[in-house]
Amino acid sequence: MSVKVVIPTPLRQYTEKKEFVELEAKTVGEALAGLTGQYGDLRRHLYTEEGKLRTFVNIYLNDEDIRYLQKEHTPLSANDVISIVPSIAGGKRAEPTKDHFYGYVD
């Protein structure tokens, strides 16, 4: 099944700046495995050392959170879109002396 994975801006530095990656996969887990196989540096941003998806990175299949589908076992159909949606922070920096984890604009 050919699907598209949308890469959010903060993680594009690990995917050669690509906005999305197209690959073949039968499940969401397979697609993510394919993605992190292709772009090794992305792996630690998506998975913990124990191989679990990180809680601050949400994975959506089309417009639905995979936590409410069958998680990584969720089957894919052709032309599905998987989105990686990390928590981002931007707006007003509360402590001007500290740079923040995701960007430092205020």
Binding site: F56, D65, Y68, S87, A89, G91, K92, A94, G103, D106
Partner: protein, 390 residues
């Protein structure tokens, strides 16, 4: 959704107000009832920065009766590219004073309540209690979780916006009717794991757009019209000029708004987010050198290699003479360009990324290596006052 602001019975609009708000009043969706609700409404903006500027400006212009602002910062030149509530003459002044003046110019009918303080677990509930809606314009995770939890505990809607470079997110977290921020992200990213200041920056218009979306959501909640962003996460990609929408679900196991909440009062959010004072600034302790000492080495013609680990576009803004650019991300694979027998000084903008680079190089066996403390900023302060800061 339950009515947030009841139709006011005793409030009236003056003749001047009727003229001022006439373009609202002639729309049936707002009308006199909606405008009176706006006048009755009490909205709290957390931050008068990139998102807070358009928020506060439009809410004031729209005739929100009471506008609270939490901000203790001072206006600086780097703010002006996007924080349009402040102007050039305000640089050096408290943002609160500047915001208050701008709002008074736009609409003197608005009562501005300023909280020139850092929002903390100790003061948040007391501040929030006096408002109907909270609009979150902060960018750091401890404050974001604090705002979320305080809103859930008090049963108030939290109109959320967030930006990163060319990308924005917006939603309305209202635990009474939908999910909260913790349903979406139960935990914040640990410090240091996710891309840091190297990837920072934002196009000034982006917080304008996202802040305006927040202002619109606030007004919809007040007048009780339309479909609020409750249970929906709006994603905005400015480069592609695309809006997408994701479904948000209430997590029954959410520690704050779930069926069996474990968070019944505000906690220590710095600890929760893994931020602890100075260790956050320099995650690893590495040997340092001051800008003055580096200049002295140059003047005395001592041999050393100066490595700049910023990004190429930052190198174009300014550079220390004689430096070689190796962006932090390329350090691991370009280490072989360096000789561990050389004296090496590494720098970036403020000294944080270079500390990471020095740490990497030390792990690889480099010993004659120093981090330029304070980076380009320190160089501008101590050595070359013509060096631009950014």
């Amino acid at each position: 959704m339950a009515t947030l602001i009841e139709s006011p019975v005793s409030t009236r609009l003056s003749k001047d107000e009727i003229l001022r708000y006439s373009r609202h009043l002639i729309m049936p969706e707002v009308g006199m009832d909606g405008q009176l609700k706006l006048k009755q409404a009490r909205v709290l903006c957390i931050g008068a920065g990139g998102l807070g500027s358009p928020l506060a400006l439009y809410l004031s212009a729209a005739g929100v009766g009471k506008l609270g602002i939490v901000d203790f910062d001072v206006v600086d030149f780097t703010n002006l590219q996007r924080q349009i509530i402040h102007d050039t003459n305000d640089v050096g002044r408290p943002k609160m004073a500047s915001a208050r003046e701008t709002i008074a110019d736009i609409n003197p009918n608005v009562e501005v309540v300023g909280y020139e303080t850092r929002l903390t677990s100790e003061n948040a509930l007391d501040i929030f209690r006096d408002f109907d809606i909270v609009a979150d314009g902060t960018d750091n995770f401890p404050t974001r979780y604090l705002v979320n939890d305080a809103c859930v505990l008090l049963g108030k809607p939290n109109v959320y916006g967030s930006i990163f470079r060319f990308e924005g997110q917006a939603s309305v977290f209202y635990a009474k009717d939908g999910p909260c921020y913790r349903c979406l992200y139960p935990e914040p990213p640990p410090p240091g794991l996710v891309p840091s200041c190297a990837e920072g920056g934002v196009l000034g218009v982006l917080p304008g757009i996202v802040g305006c979306i927040q202002a619109m959501e606030v007004i919809k909640l007040i007048i009780g019209r339309g479909q609020p962003l409750i249970g929906r996460l709006l994603l905005f990609d400015a480069l592609g000029m695309k809006f997408r929408e994701l479904k948000l679900r209430k997590n029954p196991e959410c520690p704050v708004c779930g069926e069996h909440p474990t968070v019944a009062k505000l906690i220590d959010y710095d600890q929760f987010c893994g931020v602890r004072g100075e260790d956050h600034i320099v995650p690893i302790s590495v040997p340092e050198i001051t800008a003055r000492d580096v200049k002295k080495m140059m003047d005395e013609k001592k041999p050393f290699v100066l490595i700049d680990v910023r990004e190429p576009h930052e190198f174009q803004i300014c550079r220390i003479p004689g430096s070689t650019l190796i962006p932090l991300g390329e350090v691991p694979k370009r280490m072989n360009e360096l000789n561990s027998a050389d004296e090496i000084v590494v720098h970036c903008r403020s000294g944080q990324r270079s500390a990471q680079a020095v740490g990497l190089l030390m792990k690889a066996g480099f010993r004659k290596i120093h981090n330029l403390r304070g980076g380009v900023l320190a160089w501008a302060d101590q050595v070359d006052s013509n060096m631009p800061k950014y």
